[in-house]
Symmetry: C2
Subunit: 255 residues, 2 copies
C-alpha cells in the first residue's frame, strides 16, 4: 500500500513531528510505502497568486480557477503543485497531520487545499463528491490540540470536534476521498512536546503515539464517515427531505 | 464609528473588491471612518514561521505560542502583525470580506488569524470568549461563492453555510467579538465578476451590492449570533447539559 502523509508543523521537534515519525515507522513495518510531504520543510507557498502562473490565459484579470484550468490543460502547473498531485495519485491513503490553529488547519495547509486541488483537472462541476477524482482512496486527519479532550464535545469550550473538522473533511469528500473519523491527540500543551516537564507528560504522550500507531494498523478497515452524495441532492444542490432531517447536519446557531 | 475591513482576494477587479468598495462608500456616506486591510495588496505573509521572530525566547525550538507571548511582552511583534492589531483596537466593527475557497477562508486570511491573534497579548486562558480582548466590538463575515444559495442549506451540495462559517465565527467569538450572521453573496461565478457576460448578470450582481449596502446600515442593531460562553461550561470545558442539547451544536456525522 502507498501512503502519503501531508505534514504541517513549523517545528521538527514538535509532537506533530513525533506523530508523523511514528506513523512512518508503523506503516513501513507492515510493508507499506510511505512518502511525507513536509510542507514547512518544503517551504510550500500557501498563497494562491498570479505569480504562480507563467503562461496566463488572461494577463489583465487574475481569476484563480480559470488559470488553474488553463495550467492543467497546458501542462504548465506550478512545479510544487504538480509534485503534490503526483503524490496524491500514487497514494492509496492520505494522512493529514497538523495542529488545530484557530479551529482549523494552519494557513500553510489551507493553502495546500487552495493550490493543489486544481479546478478543471482534479475536479469539475460533475467530477466531485462520490464522482470525485480520488474516489477509491482514503483520507484521515490526525490533529493535535492544547485543550483537553473533554472540551471538544457538543458546545464544549474548544468547539465540537465535528464542527472543527467539517470544512476540511467535506473538502476531502468533495475530492472523492473516503474520509474516516479524525484522530484527535488532545492536551498537547505548548504546541511542541519537547517544552514540557518530562515526568507524567512523557507517558501521556507515549500513550497518544501508541494509540495512533494501533489506529493506523486497522485504518483501511474502518467504516468511512458518511457525507451527502449526488443521489441526496436535487439539480440545485438542495438536499432531498429524507437526508436533510438526519446526519451530517450543520451547527445550529441561535439568533 | 470606526470600521475595519479585512479584505482578502487576489484580484482588485473581483466581485469581492466591488463588495468592499460598496461597503466603504456606504459607511463613509453615513459618517463612519473606514480603513481597509487589503491583505493581497499588503502582500501579507500568512505563514506562522520562526523568521518573524527576531528576538527569540528559544532559539533551538520554535514554539509559536511561546514566541508570540514573548514578542508581545517585549514589544517585538512583527511590524505587519502590530499594524493589524492597532487597527483592530481602533475599530468598533470589523468586516471580513473573502471568497469561500474549500469551505473556508483563503490561506492568506487563515494566516491572518494564525499570526495576528497573538497569544498572551490578545488572549490568555482566562481572557477568551465573553471575557475576550475585543468584547464590545462587533464582527461580520461577508463571503462570496460560485454555487447558488440553494446549495448552502442543511446537507446541501455546497455545504451548510453555518457549518462552513463555524470555525471562523467561533474564532471571532473566542476573541470576544459579537458576531452577526454572515452575508452570503452566492452565484458569483468565476471568482471575479468582470469575466461574466454583462446582461442579466450585472443586474444580479448590482442586487447583491445593494443588499450588502442596506445590510450594513443596520448592522450595529442586529442581534448577534449566540455561541456558548463561560457560564455554559464546567472547569474542563464541557457544556452543562442544558446548553448541550440546544443550539450551536456541531454537524453530526454518521458512521
Amino acid at each position: 500500500m502507498n501512503i502519503l502523509i501531508i505534514h504541517c508543523h513549523p517545528n521538527p521537534n514538535s509532537f506533530n513531528a513525533a506523530l508523523t515519525e511514528r506513523a512512518v515507522e508503523t506503516l513501513r513495518a507492515v510493508g507499506s510505502n510511505v512518502v511525507v510531504s513536509d510542507l514547512y520543510a518544503q517551504d510550500f507557498d500557501p498563497v494562491e497568486h498570479e505569480r504562480h502562473y507563467r503562461h496566463r490565459i488572461d494577463h489583465d484579470n487574475f481569476a484563480p480557477l480559470n488559470e488553474q484550468r488553463n495550467a492543467y490543460k497546458t501542462g504548465t502547473l506550478p512545479a510544487d503543485v504538480a509534485r503534490e498531485i503526483d503524490r496524491l495519485i500514487w497514494a492509496d491513503l492520505v494522512i493529514l497531520q497538523f495542529p488545530l490553529w484557530w479551529h482549523a488547519q494552519p494557513a500553510m495547509l489551507k493553502g495546500w487545499f487552495d493550490r493543489v486541488f486544481v479546478s478543471g483537472g482534479l475536479y469539475t462541476s460533475s467530477m466531485r463528491y462520490d464522482r470525485g477524482y480520488f474516489r477509491g482512496k482514503r483520507a484521515i486527519c490526525s490533529v493535535t490540540s492544547g485543550a483537553p479532550e473533554q472540551a471538544f464535545g457538543p458546545c464544549g469550550r474548544g468547539g465540537d470536534i465535528h464542527a472543527l473538522m467539517w470544512p476540511i473533511q467535506y473538502s476531502l469528500h468533495y475530492m472523492g476521498f473516503d474520509v474516516v473519523a479524525p484522530m484527535l491527540s488532545s492536551g498537547v500543551q505548548g504546541h511542541g512536546y519537547s517544552y514540557q516537564p518530562a515526568d507524567c507528560l512523557s507517558a501521556y504522550l507515549e500513550g497518544l503515539l501508541s494509540k495512533w500507531s494501533r489506529r493506523l494498523i486497522g485504518v483501511m478497515d474502518e467504516q468511512p464517515l458518511r457525507f451527502p452524495v449526488w443521489s441526496d441532492w436535487d439539480s440545485l444542490g438542495r438536499a432531498v427531505s429524507a437526508i436533510a432531517s438526519q446526519s451530517v447536519s450543520a451547527p445550529k446557531t441561535r439568533t
